[in-house]
Symmetry: C2
Subunit: 388 residues, 2 copies
Amino acid sequence: MTDVRIVGAGMTPFGDHAGRTGRELFGDAARRALEDASLPADAVDELFFSAFAGELSESQSHQGPLMASAAGVSAPATRVEAACASGGAAVRQAVTAIRAGVADVVLVGGGEKLTHLSTPDATEALSLAADERWETRIGTTFPGAYALMTRAYFDRFGADRTDLAHVAVKNHANAVDNELAQYRNEITVEDVLEAPIVSEPLGLFDSCPLTDGAAALVLASDDVVRSRNLPASVAVAGVGQASDRLSLQERDSLCETPATETAAERAYAASGIGPSDVDLAEVHDCFTIAEVLAIEGLGFAENGEGYGAARDGTTTATGSIPVNLSGGLKAKGHPVGATGVAQIAELVKLLTGGHANADAVPDATVGLAHNAGGTVASAVVTVLEVVE
Amino acid sequence: MTDVRIVGAGMTPFGDHAGRTGRELFGDAARRALEDASLPADAVDELFFSAFAGELSESQSHQGPLMASAAGVSAPATRVEAACASGGAAVRQAVTAIRAGVADVVLVGGGEKLTHLSTPDATEALSLAADERWETRIGTTFPGAYALMTRAYFDRFGADRTDLAHVAVKNHANAVDNELAQYRNEITVEDVLEAPIVSEPLGLFDSCPLTDGAAALVLASDDVVRSRNLPASVAVAGVGQASDRLSLQERDSLCETPATETAAERAYAASGIGPSDVDLAEVHDCFTIAEVLAIEGLGFAENGEGYGAARDGTTTATGSIPVNLSGGLKAKGHPVGATGVAQIAELVKLLTGGHANADAVPDATVGLAHNAGGTVASAVVTVLEVVE
């Protein structure tokens, strides 16, 4: 099977880009990724673009050709959408295209413009990822859905809001030195517990923000890496994707995320790498509870035990498996379509030493990205490995 | 390279499905395709779902997992979007997944619910495929954009409305016996010329309708076809996709569609099949002019000469290369996300004798599908071939 390397990564800062358009943001990210790869735009054979809310936020679908132009690329261009897991799904399609021999060099991008929306408009846009018939129509939006999952988890395993608060505290601490992050301020457990409640028991600091931003990766076949003598030391060791019922009511349990488990099994099987081999991970912490469910689903903690991982230091920057060294969705920000692409861009820089937090993981060779959509009806897990 | 076969095809009737939901329609199409393939739902390794307007028409994105459930499938499920070319792009991803060894059996589907929308709401939904910044914002919608292309074509090549009317007359005649078609009534050249003008020089009968419907295909690797002894005689000989600048103003010419030309070149190169080998084609006739531009871009006519093909009989059911024997978007209907999938489903049945119009092409072995997005900013060309 063709080995796939990540040969370039680029991002815009995440945050408020008032007055700029989605295409401008992606143009910036793509330029940076191509520069990082030392490849010209005309080397790109294919573009996959991850976008989620463009229809409502910028009255724009058909973003494939639009973003190809923004990147200066002339290639087949396709938008991939799996709600908040769109970015991970787009990366997976890029890997598949290279492995099939359809493309040698693929640009994968994602982006979103959300901060200009009012809270009701943003809530409406994000709620498109839930089941309209059985969730949205009766008023369930994502803070409410994740609050239901949190309550079920608390009831079953005895965790509490303080456990979750440590997730937010950790991720804010990690973002302080990440110059691309939206929130670079440290917060305390008290800040989290005293913040306004969004949907009981989740408060403002249990929730990721609305964010503008874009991210891009250049992936290439081993052949291209060799023939062009590219200094690309990070390989995609394995990718797995899985889906679950869209609405919570159709699930057997609110305390587990089988799509994450299955996606991880597939990525581990493809890569020959297991959870104990993973040195660091970027996981989908759209809410603090989501990070807990993610590390359990990925096998970094047993079911019902992941809630203690931030509090006891396991997943902090100095812990045995640092999680969300970028700051995560919570503090780095969550421009939906960009997120899954950005997770991998962050991992590449953490693994290769080009990241402000790379000194936390000096010997790391294996990184994992976990990107989830909705209440984890979609999950994509990507395992990266440093190779010769 | 792994050979990819089409082992099952299923569609709903195209038309007005008032009171039914998109997921119900796709459930029907998927069930029919799986039955046609004699495969159980749990044989499916992957789902690609093509949807375009769901965000506005049903307040629903994240349709991958939703449609997996509707089909009874538990597999990675991803939505693919390239405006009106979404279906073709989804089929291409399915072929790629099988060729990469990611999946052995892929369900590809597409669907749309549009007829419940008011004309302004439908126009708004469809216009998301144009460039918001340089087209939609100043009032350009698709009838207007294609009218500009038509005027440029008329000016340059001397064609007139009567030439285009023959395209609509032909496609309506083809739909008469297609029980899945939305409009099964014959029309005359006079009907077309006397119909209300939508955007000068395009009239009502130059334009495809709003349609509800869904379509599904089951694709499988050669290995699965052999090991399960499936009677699948249609192979995907080649697929090509290309993109162009999204807005018309950025193009060099309004009378050519380079995305179609490039997508066709790629599909021909991949298949070793040329335009003269093609026995029948389904092309993207969202407006009558679009069929003319398509057959020129595909190499069935020289640039500037395709306008005579319906009028002189070349592309009619009894012509040398029948185009849109299904009735095309014009008469069969255009449920956007379903269209590119349905074109291939129609071709399979035309090539294998399971179609009311199959007796028009009794010796056909090569069929071509051409699916376009926007003003052909996206194009996907798929060449099918009957094999042993």
